[in-house]
């Protein structure tokens, strides 16, 4: 049992329950059709009737994340310019803010 004083979690009980639920879900899953009859174009990704010329980067699961957060990453990259002095300035600034917050509280 992992306890924080505010709450607790038992990974072992969790895993046992997940194992049981997995069996239930597998039973439901096994009630369905397992595969499909291979026919022309059937397993082509849908692209509004057109043929998909550029394959999606399916293995790069972070692609969508980086794409959606592009502006944020652009901003972060600009801040990380490789100049050590700038990093030290940021560090000093953040420490000042943290100390200020601690003193205020």
């Amino acid at each position: 049992m992992i306890s924080t004083g505010m709450g607790s979690w038992s990974p072992l009980v969790f895993l046992i329950c997940v194992a049981f639920i997995s069996v239930v879900v597998q039973i439901i899953r096994s009630l369905g059709e397992g595969g499909f009859r291979k026919e022309e174009d059937k397993a082509e990704a849908f692209f509004s009737g057109g043929r998909l010329l550029i394959k999606n980067r399916v293995m790069d699961v972070y692609w969508g994340f980086f794409d959606a957060m592009g502006r944020y990453y652009g901003w972060m990259k600009r801040m990380h310019n490789g100049i050590v002095n700038d990093y030290v300035y940021w560090f000093v600034l953040l420490v000042t803010v943290v100390i200020g917050v601690v003193i205020l509280l």
């Binding site: 499909f36 849908f46 399916v58």
Partner: protein, 325 residues
């Protein structure tokens, strides 16, 4: 102990049936509000049966194992949540997990949707996956503030294990707050109701599937039993998120009022809990999806970050102020 084991077996399966029942009720009520008759109550069950007999197509360029395992992961994770939630009765896994665990588990079905979408090899599904991620980052913050606010209120009243769901559901938070705290709780409850359609991907926050824009988005390539599992996961998630809202804000029972004892007490409290769950879903999801249209993804982010985030902070401040006065 034997009762706990039995409940651990029954509750997740019951969650599926209750979720499908609510889907049926939701469709009938939505239809009536739009002046239609609507489908029969058992239509969601028929939908699942239909999906199970359909072919299970996996696109050629998809990452097969990821594509097929994500519906499984989504359903298992939401069914597991029900074991930690007080469903009118003490949580089945009382003492083995807390509210923070439930919050983490609630993220898994959405992450499964995202990964399943990216693994589909479809541009529509990838766009849907991106939208789902952006949406998650929008609604998780007000949800976290809502949880922290209730925990803060319990903590300042001297309760221990404030993230324990049996402690939360055993305490009537509205009775702990002063007048500013009551206003704060009302605001946070409102924010919680705002979060529910986002969590469930219902109109106006259904941007990640958006049939008319991105052809079903995440689900564009899903069919057959994989789609059936996602469908069931959605049904169970509705019960889970509404049960969480009920546990946090409406943890009242009826057995004491009617002086019930023995097996009748938990049965009555469970039925009353279902009534509250259906009410919360009706207010936050059914009515909202009938009277609104889909928001653009950029609007979803700004709507969540402008209103529920600011309002929930305001609610938290009111609650904190109320405990200090």
């Amino acid at each position: 102990m034997i009762m706990k084991v039995l409940l651990a077996m029954v509750v997740p399966v019951a969650g599926i049936l209750i979720g499908l029942l609510y889907k049926g009720i939701d469709r009938i009520l939505a239809a009536r509000m739009q002046g239609r008759v609507g489908p029969p109550l058992v239509q969601p069950l028929r939908d699942v049966r239909k999906l199970l007999v359909k072919e299970n197509i996996v696109p050629d360029d998809a990452v097969g194992w990821l594509f097929s395992s994500m519906p499984f992961v989504a359903l298992v994770s939401v069914m597991a949540i029900l074991l930690y939630l007080p469903l009118g009765i003490t949580p089945v896994l009382e003492g083995y997990g807390d509210l923070i665990l439930v919050l983490y588990l609630l993220i898994i079905p959405s992450l499964a949707l995202v990964l399943g979408g990216f693994a589909s090899s479809s541009p529509y599904a990838s766009v849907g996956g991106q939208r789902e991620m952006v949406k998650m980052m929008s609604y998780e913050f007000p949800l976290a503030i809502a949880v922290i606010s209730v925990a803060w209120l319990l903590y300042s009243s001297g309760a221990e294990n404030v993230f324990s769901l049996s402690v939360i559901s055993g305490t009537h938070v509205w009775g702990l707050a002063g007048i500013p705290g009551l206003a704060g709780l009302a605001v946070i409850f409102l924010c919680m109701l705002f979060v529910i359609p986002g969590e469930l991907g219902r109109i106006p926050f259904d941007v990640s599937e958006a049939d008319s824009e991105i052809a079903g988005g995440i689900f564009a390539e899903y069919s057959g039993r994989n789609l059936a599992l996602f469908y069931l996961a959605d049904a169970v998630k509705a019960v889970a998120i509404a049960s969480l809202a009920v546990a946090l804000f409406l943890p009242y029972t009826v057995s004491g009022i009617f002086g019930l004892g023995g097996a009748a007490a938990p049965a009555a409290d469970f039925l009353f809990h279902l009534l509250k769950v259906f009410f919360v879903l009706f207010v936050s999801s059914t009515v909202v999806r009938v009277v609104t249209g889909r928001l653009a993804i950029s609007r979803v982010v700004s709507v969540y970050w402008k209103y529920p985030v600011i309002l929930s902070f305001l609610g938290l401040l009111l609650i904190m102020g109320g405990t200090l006065i």
